[in-house]
Amino acid sequence: MLKRQHLPVAATIALFVLMFMMGSFRYTGFFSLQVLFNLLIDNAFLLIVAIGMTFVIVSGGIDLSVGSMVALTTMMSAALLQQGGWPAWAVIPFVLAVGALFGAAMGALIHYFKIQPFIVTLAGMFLARGLCYVISINTITINNGFYTDMAQTKIRFGDNFVSPSVIIALVVLALAIYIAHYTRFGRTTYAIGGSEQSALLMGLPVARTKIMVYMFSGFCSALGGVVFTFYMLSGYGLHAVGLELDAIAAAVIGGTLLTGGVGYVFGTFAGVMIYGVIQTLIVFQGTLSSWWTRIIIGVLLFAFIVLQRLFTMRSDRKTGSVEKMA
């Protein structure tokens, strides 16, 4: 069922395979299942966050607050665990609820007061990161039993292992794909991204869906934050700076159009994998500093955007429709 619409995602997946192969040829020890698993382990949080971002972008909006939300989650968790003495089973639902509510609030502002998503989520980003600093300027290390367990547990598949975070991330991925393609909420999200005006006139529950989309993104940011906390075992205001850019890049490389209405959750997964493989390649290379990752992602972003552009130009010429601008 390889339709024309699926081409960008197929290209992304192909690129990932290509890069992985490239690495395998150049570096010994690259071609191993564990390397692949490490990719997932190191980027599980990015995957979760990027999934939430995908929904927002498909609905025609954007969420710049995700990185700060991750940081806030780590900070709140650390403060509650270490200073408040809360048990893990109370902290996690709490921070997830905060993330969801935060997202819903932004969604409400965006929809009911017609303020651009860019600005509202920008304010959200400031607010979340600011709250981080208000809680504590410095790092708070976590030594709660549950968290350290989660950080150290290895789920074994033969000789290889993954962390529990990976399982969480993959579950979220599966759920997200289901939601996007098999639920009314998911389809309405696509409809709104295609034409909000039409969705309204068609009688779709636009307000409810838009707010839920941002709530979902907030939830994913918080969940990503929880996973990140397992990974870093600390709360710190400077965590995940720039994460929103990585999430957006992953979604775009995965075939999601920033104009909305088009995108596949699986594509975002491929985008995150590419992000991870680039990092791994650089580590294996050894001499290049990590800021090369940025440049390469930038170049890739450029290539994919041009590809998307050619793709949409051709389909526009067919129906003679007029281009939308940002």
């Binding site: 098999y182 009314r184 389809r187 034409s195 039409s198 068609m202 779709l204 209405g261 088009v262």
Partner: protein
């Protein structure tokens, strides 16, 4: 003509009032819609047709008056509620989601589900069945809607309306972007639905179509109800005169003046296209336009009229052929800027997306093209801009006569006049008008047509006039070029110009 077998209207509006800041959109309007009939709602721009529709569909609130459906009071607060009440609308700009598939567009919000999970196969199957049985349309329902032309998209919109068990179907200017074949197919569907008992409210500008398919006509003017008539009992001329509230002498005068032959016809061509063509848009054609000539371009939608006009202007680039414009350099014209410098002007078909700059004022919209020819530094002084604006507002009767008014607040007809003013200001040798009177009320239509004739006769301006309304083309042109399927097939001179002749040329020969 359907018989009215039901005594009670399904929809009854009484004394509707709706106000906007500074505008009284509807004043005490009554309206009745019976099941099993097609009821046309007519009026010039600003008469209140759109407002009435939006009131019915829950987009606007009413200030006063009642709406009753099947005898019971009906109040809807949103399109969702209107839909639930059984009122479905198909808008002029098809309001569906182009990125979703055909099947999804029909079923979204009501997709067949099992335990919360959408059943795609079932949905696609139902969509195919619905389209084929009720609309005689066979398409791949899994493709995105954007892959299909507007005519098909509209039918999909109607399919959605039918499937929601709508009892009232509102068609808001559905035929503006359709060609004759597509209109015929649409009307077939409409008649079928009428036969099944659907109440259909049909809003349109096209008088032919009103008589072709409606049973009853309601006329609005200036937000007030003029009257409700049976289509069979209302002659055309009377319909039009009630719509504009004036005698029709101005329209009747025009054919006489256009028919006069002019003395100085044999002048060198000021624009000459030889073998000009663009792949996928229009086959190579020859066309020569003399000074002061009005050349009409006739043909069905999609025959290449707009494409031809755009090639002449340089809005699109030609693949082959030569274009000679008197006064232009040897290299001809490659961009709108070059075209303007050479003395061309172009009023595009789609004034909203290609014509008006809506957030700017009337003054700015008028001077912009002239300013563009002068480059950056030679600005037109504010004083001079004000003079220009006042002059053209007066000349073209633009209303409201405020040069600082934002163009987006003007009605369609006045917006068109602003664009016309913009181009007249550049004093072009050749004015290209692509559907200049589309979506405009009769009064403004006549004004524009009269202006075109005056310009060509008295100022020697050449005009290329593209229109899908044959009578209009006949009325203003000295010569008509006929296009069919992206090929220029004929040129018809003054002596042969009549509707039959043109239509024959458009339709082509036996089996052509």
């Amino acid at each position: 003509m359907a018989q009215q077998s039901v005594a009670e209207p399904i929809l009854k509006l009484t004394g509707i009032h709706k106000r906007f800041p500074g505008v009284r959109a509807l004043s005490g309007v009554d309206f009745r819609l019976f099941p099993g009939e097609v009821h046309a709602l007519m009026g010039e721009n600003g008469a209140g047709k759109s407002t009435l529709i939006k009131v019915l569909t829950g987009v606007y609130s009413i200030d006063d008056g009642t709406v009753e459906m099947e005898g019971k009071r009906l109040v809807v607060h949103s399109p969702q509620e209107a839909q639930a009440a059984g009122i479905s609308t198909v808008y002029q700009e098809v309001n569906l989601c182009p990125n979703l598939s055909v099947a999804e567009n029909i079923y979204i919000g009501r997709e067949p589900r099992r335990l919360g999970r959408i059943q795609w196969k079932e949905m696609n199957r139902r969509a195919e069945k619905l389209l084929e049985e009720r609309l005689h349309l066979r398409v791949d329902v899994t493709l995105p809607l954007s892959e299909y032309p507007v005519a098909i998209q509209q039918l999909v919109a109607i399919a959605r309306a039918i499937d929601i068990q709508a009892r009232v179907l509102i068609l808001d200017e559905p035929t503006s972007s359709l060609d004759r074949g597509e209109v015929a197919r649409l009307f077939e569907v409409v008649r079928k639905l009428r036969g099944e008992g659907m109440a259909i409210l049909f809003v349109t500008h096209f008088i032919d179509q009103v008589y072709e398919v409606s049973d009853r006509i309601t006329i609005l003017r200036g937000g007030e109800l003029i009257g409700e008539y049976k289509a069979s009992e209302l002659p055309r001329l009377e319909l039009v005169s009630r719509m504009i509230g004036k005698e029709l002498t101005m329209l009747e005068e025009l054919p006489k003046t256009a028919g006069q032959m002019r003395a100085s016809d044999n002048q060198a061509a000021i624009v000459e296209a030889s073998g000009l063509g663009r792949k996928g848009a229009i086959e190579p054609f020859n066309l020569s336009i003399g000074r002061g000539e009005v050349i009409g371009l006739a043909g069905l939608l999609g025959s290449g009229r707009t494409e031809l006009a755009r090639l002449l202007y340089g809005a699109d680039r030609a693949d082959q052929g030569k274009l000679h414009i008197e006064g232009a350099g040897k290299n001809g014209v490659h961009s709108p800027r070059g075209a303007i410098d050479a003395g061309l002007a172009f009023c595009p078909e789609n004034r909203k997306t290609e014509g008006i700059i809506e957030d700017l004022t009337v003054r700015e919209n008028i001077v912009v093209a002239l300013q563009a020819t002068r480059g950056w530094f030679k600005t037109i002084s504010r004083k001079r801009q004000n003079e220009i604006a006042d002059e053209y507002i007066k000349m073209l009767n633009i209303h409201p006569p405020n040069p600082e008014q934002l163009v987006k607040n003007l009605s369609g007809g006045n917006q068109q006049k602003v664009i016309l003013g913009r181009w007249l200001l550049t004093q072009p040798k050749l004015l290209i008008l692509d559907e200049p009177t589309r979506g405009i009320d009769i009064g403004a239509k006549a004004e524009i047509q009269r202006l075109v004739l005056t310009l060509s006769r008295e100022e020697g301006m050449s005009v290329l006039y593209v229109s899908s309304e044959l009578e209009e083309v006949l009325r203003v042109s000295d010569r008509i070029a006929v296009l069919r399927d992206r090929v220029k097939v004929e040129e018809i001179g003054k002596s042969e110009m009549d509707e039959q002749r043109i239509m024959k040329a458009i339709a082509g020969g036996e089996g052509a």
